[in-house]
Amino acid sequence: MTLWLSMLGEALQAMSANKLRTFLTALGIIIGVGAVVLMVALGQGTQSAVTKSISALGSNLLIIRSGSPQQGGFRSGAGGLPTLTTGDALALQELTSLKAVSPVIQQGAQLVYGPNNWGTQVVGSTDAYLDIRDWTLQSGRSFTDTEMNSGMRVAILGQTVAEQLFGNADPIDQSVRIHKSPYQVIGVLAPKGQSMDGRDQDDTVIIPLVTAQRQLVGTRFKGTVSIIMAKANSAQQLASGEAQITDLLHQRHRIAEGVDNDFSVTNMASIASTMAQVTGMLSILLGSIAGISLFVGGIGIMNIMMVSVTERTREIGIRMAIGASRKTVLLQFLLEAVIITTTGGLIGILIGIGLALGVQRFGGISVAITPQPILLAFGVSTLVGLFFGLYPARKASRLKPIEALRYQ
């Protein structure tokens, strides 16, 4: 123990004898570790921002769209034909892997309240829609069964719509006109913010499905819906839910073998995982670029240590003559390298965190500072010191005392 302390003292003393060089050597590690911490914080920040905006769509979400039926060589795109019905939605409710199912009709419409008017997307659906999309109510209530079944004119406003029509006033129990008919406002949704593609998710109005079918879309395709949204029981049951939906609709729509389905099922979780993969790649890319700079810093350490060993050959000879064993010489030089890298690592971590917070504050980019990459960067910098310090230290310890003493 005393020997270790003494060697630590000898190493510190040798480092302080050449402060500028010690600092320049440590600089490589400071920049390397700082870059790793900053880049990983940026990457993870982006990743969590993307994940958050995807989960804002609703968790464990499956979206069924009417598909592209083939009619004599003519194929319309997805949603081209209204093949999904309220009946489909009811049938899907029986599936074991699904927690909730909600048929949805969407239609643009103009809303009027007093002198204010606002054009928005009106969603006709059931109360399950709120659960599926993870919407919460800021005030008011959701639809009652009577309101849904008998197609009463009630509406739940999104935050943006409420602000545009009512300003600061309370919209509950007020009457707004949608597509010329009066609707009673029964609830206001809590704000969700922008979606991943930059749309304002709060710019929406929800009315009962039956009401929408009667009042907005008319009778052209009676009983049809634009999309059906479903929520699986859990993330694990998303895939089985997707398969069950496909099977059931395949039967109900009487689709023959070898014919394209007239509907499509989108698993939002798979989109989320793709996005997570992309942003994960981004993190790895940024991290590895930073890792390379850490490696280069390590080579800098090795370079300086080699020079130092050559320069101090005579000193090593003297130390050996007065009793230093090869082990203690090795220890001294190794400690020097490790002290430089760990100190550099600590400074680098502080600088990295500082820069990350600065970027968050002044650059408006979200960063995530987690302990794992910081501990990793610190551990790696220590290992870099050991790895790149070992060769020069061994070289020093293998010197022959008489040759080292003769060295000028």
Binding site: T2, R314, M320, A321, I322, G323, A324, S325, R326, L405
Partner: protein, 236 residues
């Protein structure tokens, strides 16, 4: 076995491209504890090689070297380092102090390798520096003091571990005559006070007269071993 140093048929050859070149050709030598011996010889006689072997900085090709009751000819590098640390003290021609640390740290350095605690190290270093007459310079750096003083520091460094043997290689070679005499007197005093065995390698006959016994080396063979007073250059 009361001898502190005993050589038996000691040989050393250096490997060169032209084959092994013998430098020491079978030396026998016994030195009792507390003796003051000078080793003399012209350049090329092998006295530096002998010094390196005596100092455990080099190993012999053949033969035995008993130091303090241990045959060090068979030891490995780490064991030799241990022997250098515990048994030997070195004084070099070129002083060989570390220029960037002060005198007391220089003198305390051998104790680092004996795992002596720092406070204790410095305490002992200062005490030895006082003994060699440098009590007021303990905080100076080596380049700031004279050559004679530097050699005193080197002697203090050799003494601080209380070794059995002090080896000095041309200790007056870089000093003027007066300073050289002072250093040799210091060696004599230390030898008398502490009973440490003193071996000085030199080519200077005046230096040799400080020692009672003289060993003369020529072409790798000991040609004279006896009282310094009776030695004449022509005899060798």
């Amino acid at each position: 076995m009361s001898d502190i140093i005993r050589l038996a048929d000691l040989k050393k050859a250096y490997d060169t491209d032209a084959g092994p070149v013998p430098v020491l050709k079978g030396l026998g030598l016994s030195i009792a504890p507390g003796e003051f011996v000078t080793i003399m010889g012209p350049s090329g006689s092998g006295k530096s090689t002998l010094m390196n072997i005596l100092g455990c900085l080099d190993t012999p090709t053949a033969g035995e070297y008993w130091l303090d009751g241990q045959n060090v000819a068979s030891l490995n590098e780490d064991q030799l380092a241990e022997v250098r640390s515990r048994v030997l003290g070195f004084v070099f021609q070129g002083f060989n102090l570390l220029p960037r640390i002060d005198l007391k740290a220089n003198v305390a350095l051998p104790l680092v390798y004996q795992s002596v605690a720092k406070a204790k190290r410095l305490e002992r270093a200062v005490a030895v520096l006082e003994r060699v007459g440098l009590a007021r310079q303990v905080d100076s750096l080596p380049p700031k003091i004279s050559g004679g003083q530097q050699q005193r520091v080197a002697i203090a460094r050799a003494l601080v571990t209380q070794p059995r043997v002090i080896l000095a290689d041309e200790p007056t070679g870089n000093l003027d005559t007066t300073t050289g005499q002072e250093i040799m007197t210091l060696f004599q005093d230390i030898n008398k006070e502490s009973g440490v065995t003193m071996i000085v390698v030199t080519h200077d006959a005046k230096v040799a007269h400080y020692a009672r016994r003289l060993v003369y080396l020529r072409d790798g063979i000991i040609t004279y071993d006896g009282p310094t007073a009776e030695f004449q250059e022509s005899q060798a």
